[in-house]
């Protein structure tokens, strides 16, 4: 697979919700340009109201730009005749799973979208089995969705999207309602899909430790993309990140604080293990210095 192939091209997008249109009213998206590459795992960060969900809705033509353009696999989202092409390529998991669950039995729920796409029954059966297996929920296929825990519901919502076999999985805060264990499970599922199936993933999150595991991080502030790069690059800018009301992983912040105290630390540390190893190596070199 050519990893540099652009799957989504967002060019100079401006957007304003009609209901709030007022003289001098400020735009929700301001000159946003971003390419999303095939097979990448992209995390999107930003404060409440910064425009993340609005941007996500542009990726499958729920919203279309007021100015600028969005291309999905070469298809222009503002062209209504291409809606089918776009929606079958970009699957979207919304901020809250309850809004997304429609049927009274799990497997019917998962079959809902492909049925709507006109997929044949035999193929639907296969896709439902594949999707439930991918999120580890096969044993619940005959349960009622509303009786499941938040984490389980969220996995069913993801399965419903997977059954469409999209090229891109867009997830708007898929773990916000979950406990730490549920969060870990969802993230593992998503990473597996990205790694093993080559699925392109766009994930909005407020959890910095989750974003640290992506291939690339984009930061939105007041409707503008103000940073993007490898997690290491973005999170090493600790002060700027804090300035705009976000945070960095605790491991990164600890390294940053120790560096400020004059110890020999870099701030490109993201995980607990990296941090532990760095502290131990500083400890040993200080001890070594003692013995000289």
């Amino acid at each position: 697979m050519d990893t540099n192939e652009k799957l989504i091209e967002i060019k100079n997008v401006e957007f304003l919700y009609e209901s709030t249109e007022e003289p001098g009213g400020s735009r929700v998206l301001k000159d946003v340009s971003l390419d999303i590459k095939k097979g990448e795992f992209l995390a999107v960060l930003g404060h409440n109201g910064s425009g993340k969900s609005t941007l996500a809705k542009h990726l499958n033509a729920i919203l279309v730009p007021e100015k600028g353009s969005v291309l999905v696999a070469g298809f222009l989202t503002s062209d209504e005749s291409l809606l089918y092409e776009i929606r079958q390529r970009v699957g979207m998991v919304f901020q809250n799973p309850d809004n997304q669950l429609v049927a009274t039995i799990v497997e019917e729920d998962v079959a809902f979208a492909p049925e709507n796409l006109g997929v044949n029954p035999q193929e639907i059966r296969e896709r439902v089995d594949y999707a439930l297996d991918a999120v580890n929920m096969s044993e619940y296929k005959e349960h009622a969705p509303h009786m499941l825990s938040g984490g389980q519901k969220q996995r069913i919502a993801i399965a419903g999207v997977l059954a469409m076999k999209p090229d891109v999985l867009v997830m708007d805060e898929p773990t916000a309602m979950l406990d730490p264990e549920g969060r870990r499970e969802i993230l593992e599922t998503v990473k597996k899909l990205n790694r093993d199936e080559g699925m392109t993933v766009v994930m909005i999150t407020h959890f910095m430790e989750e974003a640290a595991q992506a291939d690339r991080v984009v930061v939105i502030d007041h409707g503008k993309i103000i940073m993007h790069g490898l997690p290491k690059e973005v999170f090493s800018r600790v002060e700027e990140i804090k300035e705009i009301g976000l945070d960095v992983p605790q491991a990164t912040e600890l390294a940053y604080l120790l560096k400020k105290e004059g110890f020999d630390f870099e701030t490109d540390i993201l995980t607990a293990d990296e941090c532990v190893n760095k502290i131990l190596s500083v400890y040993q070199s200080e001890r070594g210095a003692d013995n000289d």
Binding site: T20, H47, G49, A176, D179, P180, H206, M208, C275
Partner: protein, 284 residues
């Protein structure tokens, strides 16, 4: 004082899906304390606090708040309703008014407060949760997820309850919003001497804010103690399926490798101070 005696709750009792969500909880909580509540998903936290807030009635057992037994004949229901404020787990679904201002003023209006007092309370509550004034005239349906969450919290704060119960209030808030709102609630607790019960999965937040902590497991209350005592039991907490913060993991791993930091570190500041102490010692 809040006194629970043998409190149990069973959803759909008698039916095929009968399940005990809370079992035989007995505990006394002192007025004016800041109390944390933690436990895995499904352990019964939301069910327990909905009973304390009087929204659902225990299947068996009794709850007494400041001398009044909930759901008893002589309980002053109206006074009770205004005394207790509950921020529900998914409060954004409770928004229904046409403007944010009206939504936040719903509680104070029901309390029969004068207009100017309502206005004062709405503005102060909006300020507490970090909502700009121009948002007050918007429709709640035009807000982002995190903004809706803030409106819902403000609606409860505007009632200025004596007992404030918050069920995972910070889900969906950005990091600065999370810290700021919790800081304001701690400040309110100190300033007004109210009782606060906070349900949270964040051990760091609980360590920073609470005086005591209740731990639930499969419907039962398995620990209730001073916060400092609870956090000495890292292993027991892990066994109950509770995740420790990344900073605790770092300190635990360091200790295993012979780096002398104490056990039970849950906040970044303590971790930094302890590690710095060790490194400075070596430097000397």
């Amino acid at each position: 004082m809040i006194k629970l005696t043998d409190v149990s709750y069973t959803y759909m009792s008698g039916g095929p899906f009968e399940s005990a969500a809370v079992e035989n909880v007995s505990v006394t909580l002192n007025s004016g304390e800041f109390i944390g509540l933690m436990g895995h998903t499904g352990s019964g936290k939301s069910t327990l606090i909905q009973m304390i807030a009087g929204l659902i009635k225990p299947t068996s057992g009794s709850i007494e708040i400041d001398g009044q037994v909930l759901h008893s004949k002589n309980c002053d229901k109206r006074a009770m309703r205004f005394k207790t404020g509950l921020v529900m787990q998914y409060p954004e679904y409770q928004l229904f008014e046409e403007t944010v201002f009206k939504d936040i003023s719903f509680g104070p209006t029901n309390m029969g407060l004068p207009k100017d007092e309502i206005k004062r309370r709405v503005e102060s509550a909006a300020n507490l949760v970090g909502l700009d004034e121009d948002i007050l005239q918007k429709s709640p349906f035009e807000l982002s997820g995190g903004q809706k969450r803030r409106v819902a919290i403000a609606g409860v704060l505007a009632m200025e309850p004596k007992l404030l119960i918050l069920d995972e209030p910070t889900a969906g808030l950005d990091p600065a919003g999370r810290d700021e709102i919790l800081f304001k609630i701690r400040d309110m607790h100190k300033r007004l001497g109210i009782t606060v019960i906070l349900v949270s999965h964040s051990m760091e937040d609980l360590a920073n804010l609470t005086q005591k902590i209740m731990v639930m497991n499969h419907g039962r209350l398995v620990m209730y103690d001073k916060t400092s005592e609870i956090f000495k039991k890292t292993h027991e907490l892990k066994d109950l399926g509770l995740a420790v913060p990344q900073i605790t993991e770092i300190c635990d791993k360091l200790r295993e490798k012979g780096f002398p930091v104490p056990a039970g570190i849950y906040t970044l500041d303590t971790a930094k101070a302890e590690i710095e102490k060790v490194l400075k010692n070596e430097k000397r």
